[in-house]
Amino acid sequence: MNERIKEKLEILSDAAKYDVSCASSGSKRKNTKDGMGNSTGMGICHTYTQDGRCVSLLKILLTNHCIFDCAYCVSRKSNDVKRAAFTVKEVVDLTMNFYQRNYIEGLFLSSGIFKNPDYTMERLVRIAKELRTIHKFNGYIHLKTIPGASEELMQEAGLYADRLSVNIEMPSELSLKKVAPEKDFKSVLEPMGYLKEKIAENKEERKKSRKAPLFSPGGQSTQLVIGASPEKDLEILTLADDLYKQKSLKRVYYSGYIPISDDNRLPVIHQPPLIRENRLYQADWLMRFYGFDLKDIVDDKHPDLDLTLDPKAAFALRNPAIFPIDINKADYEMILKVPGIGVKSAKKIISARKFGALREGHLRKLGLVWKRAKYFITCADPDFKYLGWKPEVIRQQISSSILTKAANSNQLSLFA
């Protein structure tokens, strides 16, 4: 076997792993009779790393040579690491062979910037093009948009990719300038704006004709690094909310800063802020799937998410007037607001109550988180009441159970 390929794969996957986007979902691409692969809209995680993250795509850099010197990045120019570069053929061969064996859903290709943005982007696009046209590959392709690349190249990338992404990394312009001297918000937001228009145009064309070629059908995404700069959750979530609303992003990923760098432009931390990262994802979900507004989750009075309480419970306890909610009468939208009730259990409740009033005995079996939900609802049992709707008592009860759980799994230090 070619040992050099193995070494390249190790270097260039190690360098790519800090990009947390793993999704292989959200894109529909049909296969052809003589082709290889498809995307059904539902992602598949083919395996999970030791740290419990999903492995769905072959996630690699084309090269980790880079002319930029961004402090948060392992591949920055000034970092002393082994460098390598794949050839186009090597990436195509790995993708096809991994895919045939059902190891992966597709390719996630990013790159350090060598020579200049166009030169780099041109090579990423060429790989995607070869996979699609020569090898009839219809699996998932996620390409990085290199900031500063020409519109022509971005346009071409969209024709072959299922998803495009450009990472903002630092949640404010000031922080970005500090750690990435060559970058600014404009260089990231401009390509996003361009792609947003193109994706929207393509959707219209596809409505008119199913035969119109796809353009990045899985939309675009970005990543924000958490805990490497002083921004509060309010700023981070405001930025995310803007990106969803104004740039129509499909996903914003939050990546707890991992101290990979001894660069003195970044703070020294001992543990990645995993709990905070988790709370941000919960908040993000509430905005996208649960009908919550940004201001329901964070505001000037509460600029940071409560680490000891999930954001839905925090909302409920700040708004006691809305609760308790009558499970047998409330609308679907209100039932979704109850801590411990997710989309699936809310729908089950709506279906089940058509057959008769629901009591505690029914609810306990429906798959909701009873020990959380019980404080915020009423049901058909007379005198049904837990802790008498006293927010401060409920808060104590819930957060102490979260802390106990964290202590049992040795994660308490993460709250520091």
Binding site: T47, Y48, D51, Q271, F355, L366
Partner: protein
């Protein structure tokens, strides 16, 4: 009224025929058991019901009329769970559906119907796991072969996914516990089974039958799997929750 045990041949059509027979004879059913699993009991002779395609179709039609394809699918998938006394849960559903004016499929207030949905959820999870965990190995004669040992009998549910994905390949997925597989020849899927003496061999694929470059790709995949780990985030519990140990033996990265 006396309760009677019914036996059938273990197939889904057989079970539906048995349900039909229970209506025809107007009997109270104690249990429905595959004949192969039946052991002599003190409680009188069971009645064996032979599979009758026409009866089975009539029951299926009745289920569809009451609950649509969702109900038909639910019951078939639950049957594949091979869970003890799944037959009685399916019978219960049919009885509820026939009695009721409403579609009972989503009657989550009914404990047994809720139980069927829970089983269906487990089946769904297992199907999804097989979509994820099947690992093909390329053989010398270009057949991409995977061995699996799923918790439930989900092989009949996964062929479609792989056919759409790999229409231009020849592939075989073989269940080593239930001793049968699905083979796709670039045209259609066939159920196959190896002769008895080959069963043991099929616990693992022998190196001699693999294509020359197959071991290389397994090494590359394993090394990829190891280098994408982030040690600072280690979380063994989460890892095991997603990839339970019982699946490891056929995962080339483990």
């Amino acid at each position: 009224m006396q309760e009677i045990t019914l036996t059938y041949d273990g197939t889904y059509e057989g079970l539906l025929s048995t349900i039909f027979e229970s209506y025809r004879l107007k009997i109270n059913v104690a249990r429905i058991i595959p004949i192969a699993d039946y052991q002599d009991s003190l409680f009188g002779e069971p009645i064996h019901v032979s599979t009758n395609r026409e009866w089975a179709d009539r029951v299926k039609k009745g289920i569809r009329k009451k609950g649509g394809n969702a109900a038909v699918r639910l019951l078939y998938r639950c049957f594949l769970s091979e869970q003890k006394d799944i037959e009685l849960l399916i019978l219960h559903f049919v009885q509820m559906a026939m009695k009721s004016q409403k579609d009972v499929t989503k009657n989550y207030r009914d404990e047994k119907i809720l139980e069927l949905h829970k089983i269906n959820k487990k089946i769904g999870r297992e199907v999804h796991r097989m979509h994820a965990f099947v690992r093909f190995q390329k053989t010398k004669d270009d057949i991409f072969t995977a061995l699996i040992e799923p918790d439930f009998n989900v092989l009949p549910l996964i062929g479609d996914h792989f056919e759409k994905r790999y229409p231009a390949m020849q592939w075989l997925i073989y269940d080593t516990r239930r001793h049968y597989g699905i083979f796709y020849n670039q045209q259609k899927i066939d159920f196959i089974t190896f002769v008895e003496k080959d069963h043991q061999k099929l616990k693992q694929l022998s190196k001699e039958i693999l294509a020359a470059d197959e071991p290389d790709y397994q090494v590359l995949w394993k090394s990829y799997f190891e280098s994408v780990n982030i040690p600072e985030r280690n979380n063994k519990k989460l890892h095991l929750q997603h990839v339970p140990k019982r699946y490891w033996k056929y995962l080339s990265e483990k």
